[in-house]
């Protein structure tokens, strides 16, 4: 029991928390605002101003017609969508199965789905590249050789989709896990099955609608990762969006910064689109 000496905030609850820290909070927010917004502003200025030509929005016009812009963007988009589809297709049934009928697999799933976090992408691609090389030699006389090669087709490298699924697995798992935890999966599924629903019906009409926000955040994280992914694509020799930005930076500096600004906007839009499209979860 302390004496009531020298303590300014005895019974005043709400206001002291805002009274003293108010100036301090303003300083923190100001500094943070500066740190995060100045590079944005500076980059914008960098793209529109050159000492020789003054202010011009040429960089943005060049951007749209730059060689490889459309194709690399389309490739990244395609890869992103394919990754989302594949990762959800693999993870959702697995997590449902574990929850509903194989609870002993649960710790195994947890470990497996967190393991990719321990393997930095550069190390993963080092191993992946080696396996592809060895695979090409070892599998040469077998029919699987063509599959291995088809998977590496630069028009649409499925090998990248496979790699991205692994990279994004921990985040998707965590997202879906959180979502599944808040809905009473067992009851809902059992009720639906008792009413005669087939498994696809259960999945699509019962489980998915209840997981909307989890699916939304999983999709957002996947798309953001795929669009920004550079390491694996570069070291395997493909040119999706991020790799293209670096390639173009050698010849056109302003365009590459302009593209960087656009990609930030893109992620923002993605976040907005995904969160509004899926809406708020119904309680």
């Amino acid at each position: 029991m302390a004496a009531v000496t020298g303590l300014e905030q005895p019974l005043v609850t709400a206001s002291p928390r805002t009274a003293r820290p108010r100036a301090w909070r303003a300083v923190v927010l100001l500094l943070a605002g500066l740190y995060f917004l100045v590079p944005l502003g500076a980059s914008l200025w960098y793209t529109i101003y050159t000492p020789t030509m003054g202010v011009s929005f040429e960089a943005y016009g060049e951007l749209l017609t730059a060689e490889g812009f459309a194709s690399s963007l389309a490739l990244s988009l395609g890869l992103g969508l394919a990754t989302i589809a594949l990762v959800l297709l693999l993870t959702l049934p697995a997590m449902l199965a574990v929850r509903l009928s194989a609870p002993r697999l649960r710790p195994v799933m947890e470990v497996l789905c967190t393991l990719p976090l321990v393997v930095p992408p550069i190390t993963f691609v080092a191993g992946l590249g080696t396996s592809l090389r060895t695979g090409a030699e070892v599998l040469a006389p077998t029919p699987f050789w063509a599959t291995l090669i088809a998977v590496q087709d630069p028009a649409f490298p499925i090998v990248l989709v496979l790699a991205y699924v692994v990279l994004v697995l921990p985040f998707v798992y965590r997202s879906l896990d959180a979502g599944l935890r808040t809905m009473d999966v067992r009851t809902l599924v059992e009720a639906a099955r008792n009413l005669g629903a087939s498994w696809p019906h259960v999945l699509l009409r019962v489980v998915v609608p209840n997981l909307r926000s989890a699916l939304a955040s999983a999709s957002f994280l996947t798309l953001a990762l795929v669009f920004g992914e550079f390491t694996v694509a570069r070291l395997l020799g493909y040119q999706p969006f991020a790799v293209w930005i670096v390639t173009i930076s050698g010849s056109r500096g302003q365009v590459s910064v302009a593209v960087s600004i656009l990609s930030l906007l893109l992620i923002w839009l993605l976040l907005l689109a995904v969160s509004s499209a899926f809406g708020r979860e119904k309680k």
């Binding site: 090409a136 040469a140 063509a146 090669i149 998977v151 087709d153 020799g237 050698g250």
Partner: protein, 383 residues
């Protein structure tokens, strides 16, 4: 879980997809000889085809050529590719221009037997040698093979040097009052924060050569690259070292005002930059002259063997060699062309001035230097 019908349908669908993408590597199946009984894959010279015209015919029949790691503004490859396409009507697919030599070797290994494999390679010297040892190349002697000096080709034609250059110091003459002409100059305080390399010496061939040249300038030799590493440490301590990798964009923006790079790269920047109002000068340093050549090789499992060999013939013809010259690179047949008058005189005059003839380090010396650099660069430059 699924109805029996659905299950069967699913299995059939899966099998169809899998078998559609199946098939063993073509290389392990019987190779088919091309028309006329000439197997382009094993031809070791134009004579094997029955003359250059027959080679051209066979190449045109193939119609395509895959090249890799050929940036258009590197030794004038842009124009070389266009000229070849126009001359023979063979379409060239130039992939991954920013690839490094290691990427080229990887592409050959991973895509063995595939249609996507590169046909021809332009490699750093060490990579050509190691690739030949690994049996990745096909021996092919171009028609001018005998004119190529000894030591600049592999005796059976597995690789041949194509062009090379000296390490040079490029400089933005408008922003810098006196351009440096030697490595010793670079340490002067007026160049604070301005001296850039073309990347990291453990990754970029020209940056490695820059360190090697600096070593020669600082009292080292082909056997000892340590003075070069020490030089750059001194440069960094003096505050003159600029870690940005030089590209046309950085020169334009003024981020890299002095650049150590191959003379053909620096010289090629000059006309580009004049258009942007920058006066880019090139000097071969007087105290550290280092000359290095790249090497051409034909992929043993090239998907377009005749076109690959025609490409070689083109590059080593006076026309091809002069195109290299136009790109400010020193083609391997330059001395020969100068004596028999086929050289493009104007282009030869435009080369950055250099005195004397170059000496080359041996493979062992280069390998030892690389190992030493890989071990010591990080500690020196970041300390």
């Amino acid at each position: 879980m699924f109805t029996p019908r659905a299950r069967v349908a699913g299995v059939i669908a899966a099998l169809t997809v899998i078998t559609a993408a199946c098939g063993a590597a073509p290389g392990t199946q019987q190779p088919s000889a091309s028309e006329g009984g000439v197997n382009a894959r094993t031809a070791t010279s134009a004579a094997d085809f029955g003359g250059l015209d027959k080679l051209v015919e066979a190449a045109k029949k193939e119609g395509n050529l895959h090249v890799i790691a050929l940036p258009p503004d590197w030794a004038n490859y842009g124009e070389i590719i266009k000229t070849f396409e126009a001359k023979y009507g063979i379409k060239i697919e130039s992939e991954d221009p920013d690839a490094a030599s290691a990427d080229e070797i990887n592409a050959v290994k991973t895509r063995k037997g595939q249609d996507r494999a590169p046909d021809v390679l332009d490699l750093g010297q060490s990579f050509a040698i190691s690739g030949a040892t690994e049996g990745l190349f096909a021996p092919y002697k171009v028609q001018t093979f005998d004119k190529i000096p000894e030591g600049q080709k592999e005796p059976t034609g597995l690789w041949t040097n194509d062009y090379g250059g000296y390490i040079s110091i490029g400089c933005d003459a408008k922003k810098i009052t006196t351009c440096p002409t030697s490595f010793a100059d670079l340490l002067k305080p007026e160049y604070k924060g301005k001296v850039a390399l073309n990347g990291n010496p453990t990754k970029s061939g020209s940056a490695f050569a820059g360190v090697y040249a600096a070593s020669i300038a600082s009292g080292g030799s082909f056997d000892d690259i340590q003075p070069g590493i020490d030089f750059f440490k001194k440069l960094k301590d003096a505050g003159n070292f600029n870690p940005v990798e030089t590209t046309p964009a950085t020169i334009e923006k003024g981020e890299t005002q002095i650049s150590i790079d191959w003379d053909y790269n620096n010289a090629a920047y000059a006309p580009q930059m004049t258009a942007k109002g920058i006066d880019w000068k090139v000097n071969v340093p007087s105290d550290g002259k280092y000359f290095q050549m790249y090497a051409q090789a034909v992929n043993k499992d090239a998907p377009h063997p005749a076109a690959a060999r025609l490409w070689q013939e083109f590059l080593y013809s006076p026309e091809g060699q002069n195109l290299y010259l136009k790109g400010f690179a020193r083609p391997v047949l330059l001395p020969v062309m100068e004596s028999d008058g086929t050289v493009d005189k104007a282009a030869a005059e435009a080369l950055p001035e250099v005195e004397g003839t170059p000496t080359f380090p041996t493979t062992e010396q280069v390998d030892a230097a690389k190992a030493k650099l890989a071990g010591g660069w990080d500690a020196a430059i970041s300390g």
